[in-house]
Amino acid sequence: MSEFFTQNWSWWFTGLVISSIMFILLFFGQSFGFSANLRTICAAAGAGKNVSFFNFNWKSQLWNIVFLAGAIIGGTLAGTVLNSNEPIVISPSTVSDLQELGFSSPTGLQPDELFAWKSVATLKGFLILAVGGLFIGFGSRYAGGCTSGHAISGLSSLQIPSLIAVIGFFIGGLLMTHILFPLIF
């Protein structure tokens, strides 16, 4: 029985849970869009005094900040009591592609080469995480949403702008993975 709770989730079950979360939020009068929280945090920190983009009633977005807090708790539960400690199974071709870039075989969910503190403590390691975050924050607001807002909510309601944004996500991801990774790593 305990295995039922700790085993990893299949792709189809996960997909159904994602759309269910979107529908539950719609039922409670809200819409699924995670990156809006980044704007709310800026506004709550007082950025609205100088920058009009952050001058809005951020308290109406508190529900989403609570959702974010829940996501952190969910991550902690998954990493502790619900942790199966199964090794992650990554496609052998991805593993060998990454080995050519200097990444060792996966032992956990994240590569030590990027997320271990000894990697983060180097200038290059720090810059990778910092630039990654900067691009995600800037890009998601410029595009008006992230994976949840565009790829899930937007595509589900058949919105062309969201399709364009998702195409952009893939242009950027392919550019980074296939052109820039060999230069960075």
Binding site: G15, L62, I73, L109, A143, P161, I171
Partner: protein
Amino acid sequence: MKFLKFLVIGILFGIMMAKSEIISWYRIQEMFRFQSFHMFGIIGIAVISGIIGVMVIKKFNIKDFNGNPIVFHPKEKSIIRYIVGGTIFGMGWALSGACPGPMVVNIGFGFLSMGIVFLFSILGTYLYGVLRSKLPH
């Protein structure tokens, strides 16, 4: 009390993101190298079931728990902001292996260095707000 339900949904979201390994940098690499069905299957099922559900909501005018109609706000028409903004986002997604949701789930899971990505994503959002009037939309 009215926020409790959003906390519970958030916890479900966090568990789902971790148990499906969406929070893994390796899974995002597999996706951008087209070497695994996993991420495409997840997004595909989510979108297909999402489209069906939205059609049902519209057809039967299903109301939310307050009795208000469920409305889908059309996103403003543009190409440049979606393609340029989306490309910048995608570059960051591939580099750090996490979009905003998975970032915080990673922090909860124990990958605390993801906090750097999260802090800089807030800074990136702030920079967008500062530069917004100068950018083509």
